[in-house]
């Protein structure tokens, strides 16, 4: 606000008979300059150490857009999306079951969460992979019948292992979200004659989303990285392809760096998406919506300008 009045230096723009703005010398934060310098020095030291190390960096760009890597990226994304879909749908279902007045469903949900949250996902993946030892055939009567080993493809194993595990975590996140919605909302909805299911779908869940989305974003990013575990069930995704290329091309460590870079890119993109979803569900909860990153950058630039003066 004061920027304009300073530039024009004319009395025409100043509000009539307003009080004169204070002109004070701002506090100098010398600690900020010092800490920035130390951070930059450390960063440079680490970078140069890696640059001089015995690593063939040239191999990374050579393979960065290799067909196999790109296929791996797509498969990683596909697996993340599908597993999270199973996780979210299962999680909402389990949370509703857990909060239900029906003692049977709430006990089942409790038991599910207890089991799937209590065992490592890697172990669960291996168990799914080897379930053929217990079930030799899968027999759905006239619809489908096959050997378990040919039914349980790597993709299905990976999806079940990751998705069912995720559902247990999502259930707790969703439960927290559902509980965060004021009871008066349910009462008001019931008083209008809305059924339990409609109350959940139209009134409670949309409000619970505000609490559910941020930790779910966390879960998506976690899931993206956890997909690297499914190489143990012979599913080929980014990490597995990078590993394979590393073994044949003679640059194994370099390929791990390549994979790390790809994971970082993907998680960054997901973070941006999460921000906009959060913004969508914030409507009605505060008087004005939070700024988009672009608006924030603009605001920061402006404040930086005034800080320098």
């Amino acid at each position: 606000m004061t920027v304009d009045t300073d530039k024009t230096t004319g009395p025409a723009d100043t509000p009539p008979a307003g009080p004169e703005a204070l002109k004070a010398i701002p506090v100098r934060h010398y600690g900020r300059y010092v800490s920035a310098l130390i951070a930059i020095a450390l960063f440079v030291a680490i970078i140069s150490a890696f640059a001089q190390g015995n690593i063939n960096w040239g191999a990374v760009p050579d393979y960065f857009f290799d067909d196999r890597i790109i296929t791996g990226v797509w498969k990683t994304l596909l697996l993340t999306v599908l597993s999270m879909l199973i996780g979210i749908v299962g999680g909402i279902l389990l949370a509703v079951m857990r909060l239900s007045k029906n003692p049977v469903t709430s006990t089942i949900a409790w038991f599910y969460i207890w089991f799937f949250r209590g065992t490592p996902v890697l172990v669960q993946l291996v168990v799914w992979f080897n379930l053929g030892l217990v079930f030799t055939y899968i027999n759905l009567g006239p619809i489908y019948k096959d050997y378990w080993s040919s039914f349980m493809t790597p993709l299905l194993t990976a999806l079940l292992g990751l998705g069912l595990n995720e559902a247990a975590y999502m259930a707790e996140i969703c439960r927290a979200g559902l509980l965060s919605v004021d009871e008066g909302q349910t009462e008001a909805s019931h008083a209008l004659g809305m059924s339990h299911a409609k109350t959940l779908r139209r009134i409670v869940i949309p409000q619970a989303m505000r609490v559910i989305v941020p930790p779910t974003g966390n879960e998506v990013i976690n899931m993206l990285k956890t997909t690297s575990l499914v190489s143990v069930v012979q599913f080929y995704e980014l990490f597995r392809y990078a590993q394979d290329i590393g073994q044949t091309s003679g640059a194994p460590v370099e390929m791990y760096f390549l994979a790390a870079a790809w994971y970082l890119i993907l998680t960054s993109v997901l973070s941006v998406g999460q921000y906009y979803i959060e913004r969508y569900y914030a409507r009605g909860s505060s008087r004005s919506l939070p700024a988009t990153p672009l608006q924030k950058i603009k605001a920061n630039m402006l404040s930086l300008g005034s800080w320098r003066r």
Binding site: A188, S189, L192, G193, M194, S195, Q207, G284
Partner: protein, 267 residues
């Protein structure tokens, strides 16, 4: 008005009570909140419930649309038992869907408004007709617009509840309840959470509603409203009806000692 007939259904529609309570008891765990409530609310009247906090007024109101389950006694709305179905001498609990069906006809306004914060004022009013009655969107929108105009908020249709004052929110809440075309409106201390200067707007809307002939049960601390608009008044304390009658009589000339001491504090 006071043609006392036996409980059998009389032919004259005027004599059918909108709400009839016979020995209603309600306990929360070991605490008995309602200790036998007998009263009758006639069709088209404004029935005020007053009393100190914890006297059971709100609980009784919530029993009427089955937000709370009655432990003993019988509660009828428009001649039908609330929450149960009687077959012979056996009582069957109603299914959730059947309870919901009955709640359509009973509007409720809460002390804390309970508007849906993720919907605009207009969407709040449209929601139940669309979801419950299957009204078309266009029709619901038109009706919601009329209702908002009726409560004086036509220009606030696109605002979210957080962008409205308490008094405006409560008026939207009244419009939301009216959108279901109820035959009975329950008001649970509708002005208790409002700034004093906003109370008037809400009471004006309620007065207007009373004049249109709506049957209203109002739990309130607004004695002025009860005296002006009320047709009947009940003073409750400790889970029982202490005194009842015409509001002007009860408020100016209370017979019971407990009523006298309560009114001397609030008037």
């Amino acid at each position: 008005m006071s043609t006392e007939k036996v409980a059998e259904q009389p032919s004259g529609s005027e004599a059918v009570a909108m709400v009839k309570s016979e020995g209603v008891h309600k306990s929360f765990g070991p605490v008995e909140v309602l200790k036998g409530i007998d009263l009758e609310v006639k069709s088209g009247e404004v029935f005020c419930l007053i009393g100190p906090s914890g006297s059971g007024k709100s609980t009784f109101l919530r029993c009427i649309n089955h937000l709370e389950k009655v432990n003993a006694g019988r509660l009828y709305v428009d001649g039908e038992l609330v929450g149960y179905r009687q077959k012979g001498d056996k009582l069957y609990e109603l299914k959730d869907s059947e309870v919901a069906l009955k709640r359509r006809d009973i509007g409720m306004v809460f002390q804390r408004f309970n508007l849906f914060p993720h919907m605009t004022a207009l969407e709040n009013v449209m929601e139940a007709p669309i979801q419950v009655k299957g009204t078309s969107k266009a029709q619901a929108r038109e009706r919601a617009g009329q209702l908002l105009e009726r409560v004086g908020l036509a220009d606030k249709a696109g605002n979210y509840p957080t962008q409205l004052s308490g008094g405006q929110q409560q008026r939207v809440a009244i419009a939301r309840a009216l959108a279901m075309d109820p035959k009975l409106m329950l008001f649970d201390e509708p002005t208790s959470a409002l700034d004093p200067e906003l109370v008037g707007d809400v009471l004006d809307v309620m007065r207007d509603l009373a004049e249109s002939g709506m049957t209203m049960i109002v739990v309130t601390h607004e004695m002025g409203f009860a005296r002006e608009v009320g047709d009947s008044l009940v003073f409750m304390d400790g889970g029982v009806v202490v005194e009842s009658g015409n509001p002007r009589d009860v408020l100016t000339n209370p017979q019971h000692e407990r009523t006298q001491s309560f009114l001397s504090k609030v008037l």
